[in-house]
Amino acid sequence: MGKITKELVDDYAKKLLIGLTKEENDLVLKEFDIITEQMELIANIPGIEKIEPMTHALDRYLDDLDDDYVEEAIEINEALSNCQSYVDREVKVPKVVENNG
């Protein structure tokens, strides 16, 4: 695993669609040092790879699933009440060019 660098941090931030200042970037690097050191210790715990990662807080299963019923749709004026750019019933954004999905 390569060491995390300033450039890498900026790249991650960009992918998250956020910009970082230099100070913010520095702080991230500092915190990474601590995390990396701890995770190094964790990785060395014997048999850790055999443990099932804990993904939910409780060991409970869903008793049952939802029936296939329809609830009334939300009102369009409610849906758009916080939206700062829309046309008629639809949310407006600058033109979407390439499909990345």
Binding site: L65, A73, V93
Partner: protein, 473 residues
């Protein structure tokens, strides 16, 4: 195609499922012309919303997994696929990456009468994104589609030409229709495919190119053939290095594929388990219950039509291609109508009528019960085939039961005494022709039949008429 090369094709087929509500919310799962009319707070990802989980969607997904001979997981749970795009309100899609609803399956399908076996990598349940409408300098977002249940079926790279790929897709589409898991209507945008294509000269696979979001089987066919040719042409020209691991899209207008991005730029989706949906146990009882509800599938129906009802392959293929046709056919059989006769009606006049009127069989006035009124009267020789077809059209035109037209003056004359009288009169009035007939001009037989029909305004039972004529001549 240049025989030196073998193409290898893998498919990803996304199909919108049929259900009342969406998969992770209770908004309506239906197409609407009115934008943002089938939406909930969940679909728009307002802060604090949490997903629910639709039982019907889970059951249908498991049903398809069983039909595709896949292994089902012990627990149903979901993962988040994280990426930013304006059509994805939460910034992640809820999907199944770790434990799809089905893995390692297969499906047998026919290519021109030959049985092929497609290998299924996995099938998983996920949600659809919102739809975007593009204008000159802006786009509009409609969230009606956001959260609609999707099944994504991923095959192994197990097809070698476009015909195989299409035959497979057609078979899957039929299964969706027959099971009511999906309407599988590509005209409504319910099916979208991603296609992987590579070429090779030997056993080592070539560079894989992905063509994303192809929206009809016709386009899948064209995209595959174009891509195979493009890659072979480059290879022949010594420029195979230009075939890159990349994502392309199919351009309908030009019938070509166009580069979108390199795989090197592929997004890291940072999958992790969706913490808001606890695991749901897939019990033996649940699987049993789902197995019990799987209807007779097209392939089984096909075998039955061919082997038990002795229909022609041609008719069989036409009937099973569309679940409505097959259901109609089987309803007729339940009414004790003879299979071959029904098949003739269905593949002949009925389908051509539907095509002419551009309606579906569901909108067709003559239900199996009403069709039976006509077929029964043909069978007992009350009316002729020709009359039957006239009654068929008249009944459709006037929207009145066929029996209306059979009981009155259309009734076929099968009274032997009555017909004999008419025939004797005709023979007496046409002595010259009788003589000529006896002299060897046997084709005059039709002349006499014609005369009888003229006299009876076409209502004479043709079989009986011919019998009497043969006897008296």
């Amino acid at each position: 195609m240049n025989n030196k090369y073998q193409a290898t094709i893998g498919l990803e087929m996304h199909c919108e499922m049929k259900s009342n509500a969406k998969v992770f919310s209770h908004a309506k799962n239906a197409f609407s012309n009115l934008a943002n009319s089938n939406i909930s707070a969940i679909d728009l990802a307002f802060p604090g919303i949490l997903p629910t989980l639709n039982k019907e969607c889970v059951k249908k997904a498991l049903e398809m997994s069983i039909i595709l001979n896949c292994k089902q997981p012990k627990y149903i749970y979901f993962d988040r696929k994280n990426y930013y795009y304006p059509d994805l309100p939460k910034g992640y899609q809820i999907t199944q990456m770790h434990e799809p609803v089905g893995v390692d399956g297969f499906l047998e399908y026919d290519v021109n009468g030959e049985v092929h076996k497609a290998l299924i990598h996995d099938i998983h349940l996920e949600e659809d994104s919102a739809s975007l409408d593009h204008y000159s300098d802006y786009s509009l977002i409609n969230y009606n589609r956001a959260g609609v249940p999707l099944l994504e079926l991923v095959t192994e790279p197990c097809f070698h030409n476009a015909d195989e790929a299409i035959a497979f897709l057609e078979e899957v589409k039929r299964i969706y229709e027959y099971t009511d898991i999906s309407e599988a209507d590509s005209k409504k945008g319910q099916i979208r495919c991603d296609v992987n294509v590579s070429i090779s000269e030997d056993d080592t696979l070539g560079t894989k190119v992905e063509i994303k979001n192809v929206n009809s089987f016709g386009n899948v066919y064209e995209a595959i053939n174009y891509e195979i040719k493009r890659q072979i042409d480059l290879k022949e020209a010594g420029r195979y290095q230009e075939v890159e691991q990349e994502t392309r899209r199919f351009d309908e207008e030009t019938g070509t594929t166009i580069r979108m991005r390199s795989k090197v730029d592929a997004i890291d989706y940072k999958y992790f388990v969706e913490p808001n949906i606890p695991k749901y146990k897939v019990t033996d009882e649940l699987i049993k219950e789902i197995k019990a509800r799987i209807p007779t599938l097209p392939k089984e129906r096909k075998a039955k039509y061919l082997n038990e009802y002795h229909l022609s392959l041609y008719d069989t293929n036409i009937i099973i291609k569309n679940k409505d046709y097959a259901d109609y056919f089987e309803e007729c059989l339940a009414l004790k109508l003879p299979p071959k006769t029904v098949a003739n009606w269905l593949t002949g006049v009925i389908i051509s009528y539907l095509n002419k009127e551009i309606i579906t069989l569901k909108e067709f006035y003559l239900t199996p019960k009403l069709l039976k009124q006509i077929i029964d009267k043909v069978e007992d020789k009350t009316i002729s085939i020709k009359q039957a077809k006239e009654i068929f059209l008249k009944s459709l035109e006037e929207r009145k039961e066929p029996i209306t037209y059979i009981n009155s003056d259309n009734k076929q004359i099968s009274d032997k005494e009555y017909l004999l009288n008419i025939i004797m009169t005709i023979l007496a009035n046409n002595e010259a022709q009788v003589a000529a007939y006896h002299a060897g001009k046997t084709n005059l037989f039709d002349f006499f039949v014609g005369q009888v029909m003229k006299e009876t305004k076409g209502k004479a039972n043709p079989v009986l008429t011919k019998e009497i004529l043969q006897e008296k001549l």
